[in-house]
Every structure is written in C-alpha cells, then in structure tokens.
C-alpha cells in the first residue's frame, strides 16, 4: 500500500513537471504565430485538452465493449474514471476555446457546428456519469453504463468531422487530416509535446480515479 502511494506521488510530480515544462515553453520559448500573434499560444492547451477528451471517450467506448464481453469490474471502473476525466478535459477545452474565440472572433460563444457538437458530446457524457450515479447495484450499474458508453461514442466522430461537413467559424483540422499537417514544424513540435504531456496527465488522473472507484466498490461490498 505504502509503495503504491509513493509511486503515485512520485509519478504525479513527474507528470506535473512535464506539464509545467510544456506550458512554460508554449508561453515563452516557441515563436508567436505569423497570423494570429501571441493569441495562438492558446492552441498548446486548447488542442491537447480537446484531444484528451477524445482519447478519454474512446477508452470509455473500448472498456464498455470489453465489460459487456468479459464482465470484468476493472473495465467498468476504468470506463467510469475515463468518463469523469474526459468530461473535465472537454469542459476545459470548451472554456479555453471560448477565451480564444473572444480574442479572435470577438465573441465568447458561436453556434458553430464544432462548438455545438462538442457541447452535445459533453452533455452526453455528463448524462453517462449521471446514469452511473443513480444506479447503486454494482453489476447493473456496469451493464447499463456500458451500453450507454457504446452509443454515446457516436458523438465523437460527429464532433471531429463537423468542421468538414458544415461551414462554421472553427478552423478545419490542421494535424489529424489526410496529407501533411498545415502548421509550421516548430509549432507542430510544441503542439505534439503538449499533447504528450496532457496525455500523461490523463493517464495519471485515470489511474488515481480508477483506484478511487476500486476503493469505493470495496468499501460498499464489505460494508
């Protein structure tokens, strides 16, 4: 138990240092964008937060399918943890995008397809957490959450492709697109480093959240 706590604590500090490093380089070291100027630096926190949201919801999808197949409670806990962390990151992506929108478009929110579908995706996963909250029996909670986790994932490709299917204010993908990325190499390197650091932060948070879920389940079972 103590060893696990020490590992959690040390790895947590390491991940925090990594995030601090990419944040510092995004703020100071990397040159400003030729067109948007310094405001474009928001990309180094906005895009990774959105990416981690996608990743988290994919993990919910995969664990939901796995749970329905294998009935392993660890998969259910992992799905629950990933959904909560994904909701947090998606919320932060929307908040940072809103700030970026005010700086470049002159408004905090626009009923643009990308923004709207992201908000709907967030609502779907908040509903997923709500569903988990309202079912107290462990196995039933796992089953109903897994079924909803499967269909809720349909929102994720809808968000990604919304900028291609409808015209709006939000720019089209610059990295995850067919062909070469339409972004300068230095900025791309910084972006990828930020994505890596945020992904590690996601992994650490999900690890801790899964542990919490396990502890709560154990406590309820033995109570």
């Amino acid at each position: 138990m103590m060893v696990r706590q020490t590992i959690a604590s040390r790895s947590g500090r390491l991940v925090a240092a990594g995030v601090a490093l990419v944040v510092a380089s995004g703020l100071v070291l990397v040159p400003a964008d030729a067109s948007q100027g310094d405001v474009q630096r928001l990309m180094y926190v906005h895009v990774p937060a959105a990416w981690v949201g996608y990743l988290a919801f994919f993990v919910v999808f995969a664990c939901s399918a796995g749970y329905l197949w294998r009935r392993d409670p660890r998969l259910d806990r992992l799905a629950a943890a990933s959904a909560e962390v994904g909701v947090m990151f998606t919320g932060l992506a929307i908040a940072s995008g809103s700030i970026w929108g005010k700086a470049t478009w002159g408004q905090w929110w626009d009923w643009d397809p990308r923004l709207t579908t992201t908000a709907v995706m967030l609502l779907a996963y908040i509903a997923y957490l709500l569903l988990r909250q309202t079912v107290s029996e462990q196995r039933r909670r796992g089953r109903v959450a897994a079924a909803f986790g499967l269909i809720a994932f349909l929102n994720v490709p809808l968000v990604h492709f919304s900028v291609l299917w409808w015209r709006g204010l939000h720019q089209a993908p610059t990295v995850l697109r067919p062909g070469d990325p339409t972004i300068d190499h230095v900025l791309l390197a910084q972006l990828l480093a930020s994505v890596a650091a945020f992904s590690l932060a996601y992994a650490w948070l999900v690890w801790q959240r899964t542990r919490l879920e396990g502890l709560l389940d154990t406590a309820v079972t033995r109570d």
Binding site: M1, Q5, A8, G12, A16, V19, V23, G26, L27, S35, Q36, G37, D38, V39, R41, L42, V45, H46, A49, V85, M88, F89, G91, L92, A95, S96, I99, W100, K102, A103, T104, W105, G106, S136, E137, Q138, A201, W204, L205, Q208, R209, R211, L212, L215, L216, D217, T218, A219, V220, R222, D223
Partner: protein, 65 residues
C-alpha cells in the same frame, strides 16, 4: 479575425492557460484527497472485518445498495 493590442492578447493567453492548468491541478488535488480518504476508510473496514476490536464500520462516499 480580430487583432487586439499585445497586452490584451497576453491577458487572453494567460487567462486560457490559467483556466486549463488551474482546472487540471484543482481536479488532481481534489482527487488525491478523495483517494486518501477512501483508502483510510477501506483500511478501517478491513480492520473492523478482521478483528474483534471496536472499530466503527466506515460510511462510504457511495450509497450502499
């Protein structure tokens, strides 16, 4: 696209970084606290289940079925 003054640009950038990094940090700290609390409760439950001492059964964060 609107171009603001450099000072306004910097304010927007700092606000954005503060929201994201602050949000993640706040969540991480809260999570660590919740894990520590749940671990302490799980230990108390194990102690209660294992021995004939007077340890109180834990009240957990999650409602029992």
């Amino acid at each position: 696209m609107i171009r603001q003054s450099p000072v306004t640009d910097a304010a927007f950038v700092f606000a954005g970084y503060l929201v994201v990094v602050g949000g993640v940090a706040l969540y991480a700290v809260t999570l660590r606290r919740r894990v520590a609390k749940a671990a302490a409760r799980a230990r108390a439950i194990r102690a209660y289940a294992a021995g004939p001492d007077d340890a109180e059964p834990a009240v957990t964060e999650r409602r029992a079925p």
